[in-house]
């Protein structure tokens, strides 16, 4: 009898929490991931270009940035941005704080992926682009980056899926994304096992959808290689 009651209660909690959590996922986790990843990729591209520019100062700045961000925990970075900066008069709301933190992280890690991808394109491609009269930016944009993109999709997708899960760290700086909602419901229902498993399950759904999207994208980008 007792077991049945417990089961009913758990089913109730799952049914009542699933949609609020999914909603938080769609309203915060997904946009936070997409915006941070997009901005982070731009930053990563700029950092990669700075590294291969051959201009000493740009290279040093880029290396320093990557060194600091990769060498410190993301959680610590988020705390510095959200809890630390106000003490020197810079107050940023939770969501922008999270976006800044994740963007910096994505930028640093992926700059190495993009740099490696650009360097993996043969010198002959640059030369062919130059030989038809292209400038460096034209060669980069039209010839090198499209090929580098294909090379970098699998590792970038990896880091994208990591980011989906890392956004749960935003809960610690009070962003009401999915994991924070799970924490809040846990606080009132006291069913941590159920709710955190549920949260994990929703992250799993998101990651699976994204992995499939990656597969599709790779197939599309590979069209000129197989044949």
């Amino acid at each position: 009898m007792f077991a049945d009651e417990r089961m009913d209660r758990i089913v109730d909690i799952i049914v009542n929490s699933f949609f609020p959590m999914l909603k938080a996922g769609v309203a915060f986790t997904v946009p936070l991931t997409l915006v941070s990843f997009f901005l982070g990729l731009l930053l990563a591209l700029l950092t990669a270009l700075a590294r291969i520019s051959g201009i000493k100062l740009l290279d040093v700045i880029a290396r320093f940035y990557v060194w600091v961000v990769r060498g410190t925990p993301l959680l610590v970075q988020l705390f510095i941005i959200f809890y630390g900066l106000p003490s020197i008069g810079i107050t940023i709301s939770p969501l922008p704080s999270a976006i800044i933190g994740f963007t910096l992280s994505v930028g640093a890690y992926n700059s190495e992926i993009i740099r490696a991808a650009i360097l993996s394109i043969s010198k002959g491609q640059w030369e062919a682009a130059y030989s038809i009269g292209m400038s460096y930016p034209q060669a980069l944009k039209r010839i090198i980056l499209p090929q580098a993109t294909r090379v970098s999709v699998p590792p970038l997708a990896n880091s994208f899926i990591s980011l989906v899960k890392d956004t749960s760290l935003a809960a610690t700086i009070t962003v009401t994304e999915m994991f924070r909602v799970a924490q809040q419901i846990t606080a009132t229902t006291y069913e941590p096992l159920v709710l955190y498993c549920l949260a994990g399950f929703i992250y799993l759904i998101f990651s699976t959808v994204l992995s499939n999207a990656q597969g599709q994208m790779e197939k599309r980008l590979d069209r000129y290689v197989t044949g």
Partner: protein, 247 residues
Amino acid sequence: MIEIKNLHKQFGQTEVLKGIDLKIEEGNTVCIIGPSGSGKTTLLRCLNLLETPTKGTIKLGKFSLDFQDKKPVPKDKVIKFRQQTGMVFQGYNLFPHMTALENVMEGLIYVRKQDKEASRTKALQLLEKVGLSERANHYPSQISGGQQQRVGIARAMAMEPEVLLFDEPTSALDPELVGEVLKVMKELAKEGMTMVVVTHEMNFAREAADKVVFIDKGVIVEEGTPQQIFEHTGHERTLQFLNKLCS
């Protein structure tokens, strides 16, 4: 039309070109021959500034560039100068993410800024000229080496260069595919295209060249008509080289 004076090129401590003087007349086909490591490819790459000479002058069409050690040529000057040349590479270097047609159109659209339709029409004409109309929509990975190289020629021709540079255009090809590429090159030579060809194809040099230049160890040993070089050379080194090829 091309005038090279006292051209030097140094890689680190190694001097690859040790003072080259060469004149190339408009409409001529000039074949550069010589043993590997002699500097012939470097000379060719200096002509479109893929390598920056260490010293000397190159006059090509409208522009004349004077090179001095450690003084870089401004980028816009490099691009303007280079746009007078077209290059065909040993390894083809087609853009693998574009079809044959798109490879030929690319420079027309993004460098010449011509509209898409005009570019397509011109690119199709050029592909027809090299006998590849039917492969227009194939990716480089879907066609043979000989076909790729012919697309490479069409791509270089599209920019209407003053001179076409060929860097061992048939060296990477299977023997049975060499002929189709040489045939296209011979046609171009006949039409009066100015061409500089680094090659090991002595038969091509014999038949199509107006001038043959023999380079060894960074200097021009001898230059002359194919007949002079292949049949009446008085130079020991030329003779040795030619004999080695025949044996």
